[in-house]
């Protein structure tokens, strides 16, 4: 089969990116998943249960909101896809609802996950509570500190949160620990990866589960603007799951400009950044050949972003392909610009966005969108979890 942006090859490649570079200990698990994910997801009972949960539990479809005051400010037509209104406060739950149903059908009884901002951890703990499954979430020690409310939410939901103490003690290291847990528990455990990263079939699996975002966007755009196709779709990229979901049904529509926004931290070339598409080169991270930040010896370098969810030295293989083929435009936003965008969205639209999402909002003035253009921003999550950071940086924000 010819690979497309929507469909990697059988071995999980998007162009030169993807694959499954995993130790033998993980091979049976990943292979089982690879052989079964498409057929399980195609089962009518799976679809029925998944759709019902998305509607009644997650609260989908999420609204597409015309942001009139932001539109006036930027002199273009801005719509916000309200993933912040999903149960648990971010898009992450679209994926965990699907994967928990998959895990049940694979006969797994124990769930593990990694988390950066804690949103994926909370979304995983939530569906585990719903299904009565054991849940262990790995989280970098630094992230446990900067996203404290989410640590308490996970514990309240019955999950065990384990601190990742190695490396930069952030998302990369939490992912390492989750993979090591899976190696140690190969039979009863399913690993719910939180983004479009990891070995094949995870990038494709997570992209498909997040694709509901753009599926809804097309219908809502038709209703509100008379056309299913906007001129721009903008999303932030950590691993890339909300962007993959927002882009998915526009990938093969060349008239739609796809804009992926990465975290530049203190500045792209400051040495404290997570702008992988600029600083990254091809290599293998977490089982996938993709763009990653590394030194000349192939050692993975420590990323930095104020936003725990974007503080990751790689991007999913689909995004590496989108960057390489120039199908998507990549923009990097610094900490301070993101903080300003938090205040702007809060004051103009009455919506307090997550720090991750604020990076997408901060890209608005770089798009070059005209007055008649329709710009959809994927509002991937709400800012409750970041309140402590917002208080700390109140001077910079206000």
């Amino acid at each position: 089969m010819k690979p497309t942006y929507q469909q990697p090859t059988e071995r999980g490649y998007y162009g030169q990116f993807g694959g499954a570079f995993i130790p033998e200990m993980l091979y049976p698990n990943v292979e089982e998943l690879r052989q079964q994910y498409l057929s399980i997801m195609a089962e009518p009972e799976f679809q029925q249960e998944y759709q019902q949960l998305l509607r009644d539990y997650v609260g989908r479809p999420t609204p597409l909101f015309e942001a009139k005051r932001l539109s006036a400010k930027y002199n273009t037509r801005i719509y916000l896809k309200r993933e912040d209104l999903c149960h648990t406060g971010a898009h992450k739950v679209n994926n965990t609802v699907g994967q928990i149903l998959l895990a049940k059908r694979l006969g797994k009884t124990r769930i593990i996950a990694e988390t950066g901002a804690g949103q994926h951890g909370v979304a995983t703990a939530t569906v585990c509570a719903l299904m009565g499954m054991e849940c262990i979430v790995y989280m970098g020690e630094i992230d446990m500190e900067r996203q404290k409310p989410n640590v308490y939410r996970m514990r309240l939901l019955g999950a065990e949160v384990r601190a990742a103490m190695s490396g930069s003690r952030t998302l990369k290291d939490a992912t390492n620990e989750a993979i090591r847990d899976w190696i140690s528990n190969p039979v009863d455990t399913h690993y719910i990866i939180g983004s479009v990263v990891g070995p094949h079939p995870y990038p494709d699996l997570v992209a498909r589960l997040q694709a509901v975002i753009s599926e809804e966007m097309r219908k809502q755009l038709l209703e509100k603007t008379g056309s299913e196709l906007p001129q721009y779709v903008v999303a932030c990229v950590g691993g890339g799951s909300n962007a993959a979901g927002a882009f998915y049904h526009f990938l093969e529509e060349p008239s739609v400009q796809l804009v992926a926004v990465e975290a530049a931290g203190h500045g792209i070339y400051s040495g404290h950044s997570a702008a992988t598409s600029v600083l990254g080169t091809p290599g293998v991270i977490h089982g996938s050949r993709t763009l990653l930040m590394q030194d000349e010896d192939g050692q993975i370098t420590e990323p930095y972003s104020i936003s725990a969810g974007l503080d990751y030295p790689g991007i999913g293989p689909l995004h590496a392909f989108l960057a390489d083929s120039k199908r998507a435009r990549f923009i990097s936003i610094e900490d301070e610009q993101a903080l300003k965008a938090v205040a702007e969205c809060s004051r103009l639209e009455g919506i307090i966005p997550a720090l991750e999402t604020a990076h997408a909002l901060a890209a608005l003035d770089q798009l070059g969108a005209g007055p008649d253009d329709v710009v959809v921003i994927n509002l991937s999550g709400r800012g409750d979890k970041d309140l402590e950071t917002y208080i700390k940086y109140a001077d910079a924000i206000m």
């Binding site: 570079f21 033998e24 993979i179 528990n185 192939g298």
Partner: protein, 259 residues
């Protein structure tokens, strides 16, 4: 020439393979430790090429890798250190073990050329998939007379074990149970033995070495009942922790296992 094969022909039982991380505890301990291991009776030696994110390794090897990287170890330094090693360690097989990414960045062909020139006999890259090995690496390995070593776990399917057995002329690395390196055996009694016996009964071409969780004389001898030998890594690294004279500690360790 195949030093790995020769080692298994010379000694059919109780082969001891020791793993250590290059550049640990100090940058220039690599070669003195290697010589000490060989002199004190290790039958094969695996040199770990440190990586920032060693997914298959437990805390001990992770920590040694971090120290080694901080000490300045990288592939170029390692190959320099190994220059001329075959003059002092002519026979003991040397295997390089590490992760794919540093090798990819070095260039696979370059890596294999330098590894062979430095006297290495085999390569262990746990995150190199079999299909990718066959498609992209096999010819290069062969050209440089390097043997790959592949891991087998309790979950590896029989057909896959046969395929792995066909793909090399070295040994099969039997991972003793679920877990990363250095983990204790937490399996119910008999489970591990049944797995080792199941593999033994397959009458494979290659000899087998059991690794992960082997750490002393007792566990070494136990493993040797089910295979041609065993591999010790984390326990050896722990024995180097905080010592002034790493080669002396290496000798003491090997003697304690073989005593």
């Amino acid at each position: 020439m195949n030093r790995i094969k020769d080692a298994f022909e010379k000694k059919q039982k109780n082969l001891l393979n020791i793993y250590f991380t290059a550049g640990y505890p100090r940058l220039h301990d690599t070669v003195p430790i290697l010589k000490a291991l060989s002199e004190s009776g290790a039958d094969l030696i695996e040199i770990g090429m440190p990586f920032s994110d060693p997914l298959a390794d437990g805390p001990v090897i992770q920590a040694s890798s971090t120290v080694a990287l901080q000490n300045g170890m990288n592939l170029r330094v390692l190959f320099e250190q190994l220059q001329g090693i075959r003059e002092s360690v002519p026979e003991t097989p040397i295997l390089l073990m590490g992760y794919l990414n540093p090798v990819m960045q070095f260039g696979v062909d370059n890596f294999c050329r330098e590894a062979a020139a430095a006297g290495a006999d085999g390569i262990i890259l746990p995150d190199l998939p079999l299909d990718d090995y066959v498609a992209e690496y096999q010819d290069i390995f062969r050209r440089h007379n390097l043997r790959p070593v592949f891991l087998i776990t309790p979950q590896t399917a029989p057909e896959r074990i046969r395929r792995i057995d066909e793909l090399t002329d070295s040994f099969l690395y039997l991972v003793s149970g679920p877990g990363t390196t250095g983990g204790a055996n937490t399996q119910a009694e008999g489970v591990q033995e049944a797995y080792f016996q199941r593999i033994e009964a397959m009458n494979l071409r290659n000899p087998r070495l059991i690794g992960f969780g082997i750490g002393d004389k007792a566990s070494f001898q136990n493993a040797c009942q089910y295979a041609e030998g065993a591999i010790i890594g984390s326990a050896f690294i722990r024995a180097l922790d905080g010592v002034d004279d790493a080669p002396a500690a290496a000798k003491r360790f090997v003697s304690s296992v073989l005593a």
